[in-house]
């Protein structure tokens, strides 16, 4: 008999709806697996056993229903949860219990989704490996010595390791897609503004976007539909219906779809096994009737440097709120020190090295005298990257590339080399700067036996196209996860 933890979200929801199994039993099965495997994976920072079981009982009592009712979920710890500790992977928020829920948390609860707990991440979502978490790195179920990606590596490890069939991540420069790629799971960054940011702890507000993580494309689409849609509490929320993502995931039809291969993303610096699986995936799309052409996006080469000016600049402003006055850590308040001194001591103690690096970098890029050369110029490059996308949409419906240049790297390998770490986001950043949707779907294993992701990018509010392509790839290339971490 298949273990409950091996089932997809759709399968769980069907069995719960038909009373074949109770939501409480499903929750217990996943909580047991977390108890067994979290010591090795460090995917969860906080397990909300009581909250999960209470929600499961509501589902069993028929108080809530929906296509995902009774399905457990791993929630990235950057999403605030009323009464449940939320740290964003930072010591500066350790012990903080938010007084309100994020909009997506309310929507998931109303849909009967069972949040198991909060998952590990790079501090304030700044990183590509979870090694910048204040609470230790997460480990990849495919190889415990390797990263499950970042920043959302806790959610990807939880989903890949069958600790939860669904996860929520947030993607500022690739933090949903890159963890998805390196753990062999599906990760979707919806259109910017397509999913509410209310209650998402801000890193870079013009780029941050929450989205689904799952083991199947349809599961991701169903979660996308639950969390998506307009929210009056987020002024950047798009007031349009959620694109037909579930229908696209069910159909998986790519015949006649015009697919552009991004010329700038490939070749030197890309692991041969990644290139091989990507090439096969493109050939597969051709064989399924897609019309594949090569497309040049000349400014994509400048996306990484532009991002590492824009995101730190916004972060330096956003993280000014951690001032030790109203919530969070306070250090050095001895009755003598001034508020300004207490702030400086607290922020020194509460922020880790990568967060400090980015705050200082952002402060520099926004300084008088450097603003035009750095932040201002990066914003102009952002315009040119958006124009590259818009030019591409004249001839193709979606763009594709490898999600990451390499498979999962070893923990520790890039920790002392910030630039090498930043390269993990090379292919994922353009969509954040542009605001369009993008996703990663597994497309096979590299020569090293580790998963490779195919990235699909689409125009603003054409999120459904991602799911058509992903479903086509998933159907043609099924494989199973290792059910026990190795």
């Amino acid at each position: 008999m298949t273990e409950l933890t091996e089932l997809s979200a759709v399968e769980i929801a069907e069995r719960v709806a038909s009373r074949d199994v109770s939501a409480v039993e499903v929750a217990h099965a996943h909580l047991d697996r977390i108890a067994e495997l979290n010591p090795a994976l460090n995917a969860f920072l906080h397990v909300d056993t009581d909250g999960a079981l209470a929600q499961a009982r509501r589902v069993d009592a028929g108080e809530v229903e929906g296509a995902l009712a009774g399905v457990p979920l791993a929630l990235k710890d950057v999403i605030v949860t009323k009464g449940v500790p939320t740290t964003a992977g930072s010591k500066i928020l350790e012990g903080w219990v938010p007084p309100y829920d994020a909009t997506i948390v309310e929507r998931m609860r109303d849909a009967g989704i069972v949040v198991l707990g909060k998952t590990n991440m790079d501090e304030f979502a700044m990183g590509s490996s979870t090694e910048h978490s204040a609470f230790g790195p997460s480990h990849n179920p495919w190889d415990l010595d390797r990263t499950p990606g970042g920043s959302g590596g806790g959610s990807s490890a939880a989903v890949a390791g069958n600790l939860a069939p669904l996860g929520i991540g947030t993607d500022t420069g690739g933090s949903i897609r890159q963890p998805g790629a390196v753990t062999g799971t599906v990760g979707v960054k919806p259109t910017y503004g397509g999913v509410s940011r209310y209650g998402l702890i801000a890193f870079s507000s013009s780029l941050d976007q929450a989205g689904p993580c799952a083991r199947t494309v349809l599961d991701a689409a169903l979660l996308h539909e639950v969390i998506g849609g307009h929210d009056a509490r987020d002024s950047t929320s798009i007031d349009q219906p959620v694109p037909p993502v579930v229908a696209a995931a069910r159909s998986g039809d790519v015949s006649g779809l015009r697919v552009g291969v991004v010329r700038e993303f490939g070749g030197e610096g890309y692991q041969p096994g990644v290139t091989a699986r990507f090439t096969e995936a493109v050939e597969l799309l051709t064989s399924l009737g897609a019309d594949v052409v090569e497309v040049s996006c000349p400014h994509f080469d400048y996306a990484l440097p532009a991002y590492y000016l824009i995101a730190p600049s916004e972060a330096s402003s956003n993280l000014a709120r951690y001032d030790a006055m109203r919530y969070g850590l306070r250090v050095g308040d001895d009755g003598e020190a001034s508020a300004e001194e207490v702030m400086a001591i607290t922020r020194a103690a509460g922020f880790g090295p990568e967060v400090k690096r980015r705050i200082i970098l952002g402060t520099y890029a926004l300084s008088a005298g450097y603003y035009d050369a750095y932040y201002g110029q990066a914003q102009k490059v952002r315009t040119l990257i958006t124009r590259d996308f818009e030019a591409a949409w004249q001839s193709v419906d979606v763009l594709v590339s490898p999600t990451t240049p390499t498979t999962a790297f070893k923990l520790g390998e890039r920790l002392d080399d910030p630039l090498a770490m930043y390269l993990a986001d090379l292919c994922t950043i353009p969509s954040n700067l542009y605001g369009g949707p993008a996703a990663s779907v597994p497309c096979g294993l590299s020569d090293d036996g580790l998963p490779v992701g195919l990235q699909v990018m689409a125009p603003v509010m054409a999120d459904d196209r991602l799911y058509s392509v992903m479903a086509a790839v998933e159907r043609a290339k099924p494989w199973s996860q290792p059910t026990t971490p190795r």
Binding site: P99, T236, A306, A320, S338, E341, A344, R347, Y364, S367
Partner: protein
């Protein structure tokens, strides 16, 4: 000549309200110099006549109806405070002594 000196970093750290030890300043200056060297590539792009993009969604002045809704409340707001007193946040001194 590095793009950013240790003195620059010390100034920026003060502006950003982050105390740093001498060792941290040394390490940070070296790392930031490498990072700035990489990100300054944006300057290679000819973009003088290109308008800047600050945001992906072209929305301005988004307003919602002015409907009164319950607010958080003082007790909930103060529950997470590092220090509170008489229904207020208690903070270290802000003004210098006379």
């Amino acid at each position: 000549m590095p793009a950013i000196s240790r003195t620059d970093v010390a100034h920026l750290a003060r502006l950003a309200r982050i105390s740093m030890t001498d060792a941290e300043l040394d390490a940070m200056a070296g790392q930031l110099d490498v990072i700035l060297g990489a990100v300054s590539r944006v300057g290679e792009v000819a973009a003088n006549d290109i308008p800047p993009t600050s945001h992906a969604v072209p929305l301005t002045n988004v307003l919602r109806p002015d409907d009164p809704v319950p607010s958080l409340g003082a007790a909930a707001a103060l529950a997470a405070a590092p220090a509170a007193e008489d229904g207020r946040f208690r903070v270290p001194r802000i003004l210098d002594e006379e």
